[in-house]
Symmetry: C2
Subunit: 143 residues, 2 copies
């Protein structure tokens, strides 16, 4: 894949939540302002994240979103899997698409599979907590 804005914004939003939603829900308006993302667009992203169980929400005044699990139990792969249509580097590796007619005698399939595996492993090894640590390290204003 090429990581889209959904994945990019979603990751940033999750990091924001991990930092700011520990004691009370955080509204989309707040996150959008801090992360410089369109509010309306962020709504759609959070709808997916909620559907995937990564965040929970509280409606009404003083409502907002918060993490569905602890940051150390959420990895990057889970987040991007929900927000990106297909995490493979090649569209032929997509299960729900029409299978490539040449698949049985395609010399490059092995290559794509190996790359996907490597990407997959790295994404799975990075937790949201790792990213929070990185964020705090880079920007003391978040502490």
């Amino acid at each position: 894949m090429k990581i889209s804005t959904k994945g990019t914004y979603g990751l940033r939003a999750m990091i924001d939540l991990a930092i700011f939603s520990q004691f009370h829900p955080v509204s989309i308006k707040k996150i959008a302002a801090r992360q410089e993302i369109s509010e309306l667009y962020l709504e759609q992203i959070f709808a997916k994240l909620k559907q995937g169980g990564l965040v929970k929400s509280k409606r009404g005044i003083y409502g907002g979103y918060f993490l569905g699990k602890d940051p150390q139990h959420i990895n990057v792969k889970e987040i991007l899997n929900i927000l990106e249509d297909n995490l493979s580097v090649h569209s032929c590796q997509n299960d729900n698409m029409k299978i490539c007619q040449r698949a049985s005698r395609c010399p490059t399939r092995v290559l794509w599979k190996r790359i996907d595996r490597a990407v997959h492993d790295i994404m799975e090894s990075y937790t949201l907590e790792d990213l929070v640590v990185e964020a705090k390290f880079q920007d003391n204003s978040l502490l």
Copy 2:
């Protein structure tokens, strides 16, 4: 990145060349027929490959294309680098684009860099010869 048809077709074409152009040039018409690719589109792909030095050409009747280097000295990264605009998984890692304003305090940059490095290493380790071996293994009709 998501590998586009340019990269996909280009790789297939290079494998085709490695197998069929050992003794005489191979025309685009032949490759397009064998690989089921539009001739006009293949032309554009070969223009890039030639510009990148991976193939050479002979004009006129009985002309066509042949490899610029031995298959064991051409790796997949070289090929895709020429045909794909940007091999990074994230557009923020693109040198010639406008630099992301948040780069200096972006917690996810490290992640993209690490993924890109892994992908890069795998692509570089695969030579055209490796793919030819794989192709011949899968389809005896090419032998």
